[in-house]
Symmetry: C2
Subunit: 466 residues, 2 copies
């Protein structure tokens, strides 16, 4: 038997939490095992109350079951004004929590200018800015209409929208069609080629997809995502498999219902030319999944995470339509040649709905090749997914990751765990130039500000108490 | 300090090689670390000579460099008789090493019967068998004409063939087009629907793909494989990503050059309906890669592994066109509902060219989802790839596996290492029913017989000595 302290053997130290103690011990040549630990975030009384309340667990179970049961299917493509009656007025939808023209960032302003030109509300940039400044345009978050828009997310009345229907719960969700990379409206570009492409999408691509999708009786977007997650996509910043599966699936119907072989070829070439074509449909599916989990009284599950380039906002199942907002953060990632952090806008877009639904960065273990695009190593990709199991209330068996022995992706972020562990959920994202009209300049990893979760936690505790 | 043998501590034993010693020790409650080791296979003098010869290493380096430099591009689709002049006679090509009608297995006989009906050489099964028995059909391996055929591999004059050209070395390689799953000629089925499909492939699919591929200026099959290996395919028994990428790539040109929208839709639907559609093009690319490494004097690199359902044959770079043959083995795997090992044919097909070129089972680390089809666990998939680095002379940087930190797939099987480690290369494969006319009944893992490698080793040592 050895004594508890054996001075003839080297000392081993375990350090929990802040690193300065470990650093000091290591400087003296002693081996230190570092255990990551941070004190809980926010109101610890509220946290303790909510963690101890079995009703919250029950509510989260209901929310999670609804999320896993959601079955979003793409059933149509329609002009936005046809499916969102509010867009019959002079209204623009935007990404993230509510924001007015005065506070909008560069890329969102650029996209607003582009939308005014595209809708013929203004004849040039100057007029568009005047219009926006005049207050004659009504701005509202996409999320308020169950729409999701990547990056600036500007959705105007004439744009064709994917219409998804949740076959289980009957909800409808929507998103624009993906314009491709380079100079595109969602990154704030509004040059004539950008507007020309948007008009072609309105006149040709949208109607062609509508005919094909109706003839097919719908496209099972959830099934495409489930397959893509076994094919190296995480369905946020890697959509190569999903886009290929989608092109392969709709190709025959596009040919069969096309106006002409020449037009079908152009449509197929547009779809085939974009590795991210499926992103927007996947986002609308993610919105359907999270929407299914919304409005469960007492539930602490996050059902929206969205950014407008200035603010980051979340909404929580048990707290209805209320936004909890903090400052949008700087994205850490890889920049395209010629750009750097000083050119970058803050985190922007509704695409974090993917993480909210259990894919995106939460599914990166299945998408190790993405590190070539957003930075890091395949080991980091694995770690991101593994860490998210600690924050979530369930895993989605339909979204099994082969390299994790087909374990489902972590699903349903619990604000209690985010605060308890003081660990915000991870998001991967594209980086927009901070000036309008330039476009994407990189991609990387970003975290929400903790205050969103802390404030939501207090609000939920108040509802409990109330 | 402790004594070397400390009888107060538990004993730890390391066991190298045969397990019976380890088993006996473990039965006494002692912990045993098992080190896998087998004595070398074959002629150890030949092995020692060849392992010590730097000229073999040099030759293997040349063979490997040529394999890695091969750049197969799909440039056309043509009737077999147009690109293989020998097929203007009454000749059928078959998978694997040479075999005559008398020794052929059930599925290969079924495919021969089907080919005779398809080519109108016989009006029924009975006549076809008579014709084959009469010796009036000349049988020769696909490989003798740089053709590769999955399963039975029967290639007849009228069948459309992919024509691939190695842009680096100028070689041309060929394969038939994939018929889909279920009742198909390559598994020995020859019912009227099978023949009707083959005729449609001849009249419609082949010409449509030919027009599209020519208009595109070729399809870079190596690039498709490189992408697919990052998307969960291993390019032998999982081809979902490659097939999707191929469909997405040729879709626009198929529409543009199609005879009619209706015909294009049927062609696209046929391609889209088959997760293995790309297999045959990938096999022809694998043939181009291995062909580039062939005929390097003194090289011990394997350039062909192929099975006819009775015999397994290999060819080695430094030994020219000579086949080294052993008995085809039983496949270990998963069976479709209603079938079992007693129904299975022995290992069959030219598709082991994928492993020979460094993909297939050699790339399974990147395709963990394949275990749902062939059995085992994702950890097995990783292990197969890792083990093959010990048998191969290089790795292919174009075929990087994300989960291995983008390490290239193990490439260029060295018969010296196979014999030294007494470890045959791993192959994954479909399982054919042993009777003609039924089709695929499962998929699994199989190994070549060691005697192929042992005999080739002796032959190479003789060439050295001579």
């Amino acid at each position: 038997m050895e004594d508890f302290i054996n001075t003839t053997q080297p000392m081993s130290v375990i350090n929990i939490g802040a690193d300065f103690f470990a650093d000091a011990i290591e400087d003296q040549g002693v081996s230190v095992t570092r255990v990551s630990w941070r004190p809980p975030a926010g109101n610890t009384v509220a946290l303790a109350t909510l963690l101890a309340d079995p009703q919250v667990d029950e509510a989260n179970k209901v929310a999670a079951e609804r999320m896993l049961a959601a079955h979003p299917v793409l059933i149509d493509v329609q002009p936005a004004r046809e499916v969102i009656p509010a867009l019959q007025a002079r209204k623009l939808l935007h990404a993230g929590p509510p924001i007015n023209w005065e506070r909008m960032c560069g890329p969102m302003r650029g996209a607003v200018i582009g939308a005014c030109l595209y809708e013929d509300w203004a004849k040039d940039e100057h007029e568009a800015i005047q219009l926006a400044e005049s207050g004659a345009i009504d701005f509202e978050p996409c999320h308020h209409f169950n729409v999701v828009g990547p990056m600036a997310g500007i959705t105007s009345p004439s744009m064709p929208l994917y219409v998804l229907e949740d076959q289980t719960h009957g909800n409808r969700t929507f998103s624009t069609l993906n314009e491709g990379l380079g100079k595109v409206l969602r990154y704030g570009a509004y040059s004539p080629d950008v507007l020309e492409r948007l008009r072609w999408m309105q006149d040709v691509l949208g109607p062609a997809l509508a005919r094909a999708i109706r003839q097919m009786g719908g496209v099972d977007v959830r099934a495409i995502m489930a397959q893509a997650l076994q094919m190296g996509d995480e369905c946020h910043n890697r959509n190569k498999a999903a886009s290929s599966l989608f092109a392969r699936q709709v190709g025959p119907a596009l040919a069969e219902t096309g106006n002409s072989s020449a037009e079908t070829a152009v449509v197929l070439r547009f779809i085939a030319g974009n590795d991210h074509f499926h992103l927007n449909a996947g986002m609308a599916a993610a919105k359907a999944i999270t929407l299914a989990g919304a409005n469960v009284p007492r539930s602490s599950v996050v059902v929206t995470m969205a950014r407008n380039g200035v603010d980051f906002g979340i909404r929580v199942s048990g707290l209805g339509d209320r936004w909890f907002v903090g400052p949008a953060q700087v994205v850490q990632g890889l920049y395209f040649a010629g750009y750097g952090p000083e050119d970058a806008n803050l985190d922007i877009g509704d695409s974090a709905i993917t993480e909210t639904s259990g894919v995106g960065a939460f599914a990166m273990a299945g998408a190790p090749a993405i590190v070539q695009f957003i930075g890091g190593t395949p080991a980091d990709a694995l770690r991101y997914t593994n860490e998210m199991y600690a924050l979530t209330v369930t895993s989605n068996p339909l979204f099994g990751i082969p390299s994790l022995d087909f374990r489902g992706t972590p699903t349903g972020i619990d604000i209690r765990q985010v605060c308890r562990l003081n660990m915000p959920p991870v998001i991967n994202t594209g980086i927009a130039h901070r000036l309008p009209g330039i476009g994407q300049i990189g991609a990387g990893i970003v975290y929400p500000p903790m205050e969103c979760f802390e404030e939501a936690l207090e609000a939920l505790a108040e509802v409990e108490a109330g």
